[in-house]
Symmetry: C2
Subunit: 344 residues, 2 copies
């Protein structure tokens, strides 16, 4: 079968690999019908060092269950399912607390030697706990939005939840990638009165406005902070959704957070420490977030997708086959594309 393999910086290849197969009785084999490239895939795309082991890529998918292990109970062959970016057993203490990304028997797809979803198929560990059966057909027009439930919509929602978005609050979303745009949707959905997007790409800004952003701040650093303070009566935003993962984005987050507010960070942190320990303290600002337990959020978000109240699938602006994946990475990295869908 064919799969996407990252070998080095900006070296993504489509290769023939051994067919995926069931190894554990709790596994399923997933035939991928939709996958995509994630903003987080661009971190290794740019920063991977030579000499690291090659890594199968992709952690977002919808697909059809092709086979199941002997202990799988809730799935059957032919089920159409969405695959969260993390696998989880659904039964451990953390899964019961709806923090599936801390599952005691879990892990992440396309990472640490796990198979990836930018492929014809992949092995799904802990299939009962991981996969979520979708009540639609494989070519349903909602497929793009349903695919975002595997990561970016759930991740944007996580940022909003951790940042304590609530009716009447002011939310600020740092980053105009797919996660930031889904953060705008999530902030709107949770009732934010004012939603400020910090971003600089016209196509993304236009989409953010459609999703509910009320204000756009295109500057960076101190300029961005001053502008957000201007827009918020000098006080800052109650809820800051940090959807980038850089030190600069975190500095901006601290600067624009209102006293007593919260920062929900979902950008994979490429910084060692959280800046501004003193200002955060004297403002009593809470910093939280991490890998979103998207498995837990599917049940909450799915009805809004099925009934058309949210349309996060609009973040996809390009569709490729497997052979187009390497150029998809390039296009997203060059900001030519917001998010690339893959139809293997």
């Amino acid at each position: 079968m064919r799969a996407t393999v990252m070998h080095g910086p900006r070296d993504v290849r489509i290769e023939t690999v051994p067919d995926s197969q069931i190894k554990e009785p709790t596994d399923a084999l997933l035939r991928v019908t939709r996958a995509c490239v994630c903003g987080s895939d661009l971190w290794p795309y740019n920063l991977r060092t030579e000499g690291e082991d090659a890594q199968r890529m992709g952690h977002e998918a919808i697909g059809i269950v092709e086979d199941i292990g002997s202990e799988v109970q809730t799935l059957k062959k032919g089920d159409l399912v969405v695959m969260p970016f993390a696998f989880s057993d659904g039964t451990c203490v953390f899964c019961h607390e709806h923090l599936h990304t801390a599952c005691l028997h879990g892990g992440f797809f396309g990472n640490g030697g796990m198979e990836g979803a930018q492929a014809e198929a992949l092995r799904i560990p802990q299939a009962d706990g991981t996969l979520f059966v979708l009540p639609v057909s494989p070519e349903d027009p909602l497929m793009p939005s349903l695919l975002t439930l595997s990561d970016v919509m759930g991740t944007g929602h996580h940022a909003a939840v951790v940042a304590r978005v609530a009716p009447g609050k002011i939310a600020a979303v740092i980053g105009d990638g797919a996660v930031g745009l889904c953060g705008v949707i999530a902030a709107k959905r949770l009732g934010a009165e004012q939603i400020i997007l910090l971003g600089r790409h016209p196509d993304r800004i236009a989409l953010a406005r459609d999703f509910g952003a009320t204000d756009i701040v295109t500057g960076r650093g101190e300029d961005a902070i001053a502008r957000v303070l201007d827009l918020t009566g000098g006080l800052g935003a109650h809820a800051v959704l940090e959807c980038v993962g850089t030190d600069q984005a975190m500095n901006t987050a601290v600067g624009i957070a209102r006293a007593g507010g919260a920062i929900g960070r979902v950008g994979v942190p490429h910084y060692e420490t959280v800046p501004s320990a003193g200002p955060l303290f004297f403002k009593n600002v809470v910093v939280g977030g991490g890998p979103a337990p998207v498995r837990a959020y599917i049940e909450e978000l799915l009805p809004d997708v099925l009934e058309g109240r949210i349309d996060p699938g609009r973040v996809f602006d390009r569709t490729v086959g497997l052979d187009g994946v390497p150029d998809g990475y390039r296009a997203m990295n060059d900001r030519e594309s917001i998010k690339v869908m893959v139809k293997p």
Copy 2:
């Protein structure tokens, strides 16, 4: 009148200063009946640099209203009141949100040129919003516990609230100073099932056990982390109350926090950045806290003090007059005393 003035490192003096007086129509003049030395006073005691302006010290007091400005409406001469460590107008947007330590017209006693409470008297700005009238007489036996409502009990409570202590949860309290000990009381009061104190002084440990600590960890650094993990089935504590303010304490907090847990930091941070941005992220641990809005907490905590359900006044193990204040600093700094009460 006489007041405590800090001139340089370990140079605390009792001096004759101009009598405090009302300057603004919203002021009150407070005759101090009880004050105390705070663990946070030891930071400048040790770290103050030569050449800084002399600073009047003390931010915790009970006293009698001796005079009021023309606009003060809720207080009258002769009222016995507790003075929170921060003054606040009680009417701004942050006060209405119960974050009095972010008051738009507020500030901190014994700091930045403000008068201090380790004195015969002091000027109270924003008196209506700041002072809380006590329903007891000035020599009531509950005076020590009532005095802790000006800071340490409210601060320990804040740590517990931010760390999300709740019934059945495991709490870990880092630091066995007066705030940490009050954190134990707060964790117990909010229903923690297991309360682990990280401290090393026998007198404080004994008091912590009386207050409800179920386990004591006397090691530091990696040893302490390993021991807490041992005590918590390898998972860590849901709620970590960081009551020290050092980099080492924060590192320990991150190490012992359970995935999905929260760290409430109330030790004034003497570190520039919050360590371990990555581990905090991948565990989805929330970090919050700051100057406690003790004014907001008095109403919640006061009934428990008046009715004897909590007895935080036991943190005082020494009482001095004003002349004894310099030696009180020394005794607390040498860990001879947990907390020193001052009867001017």
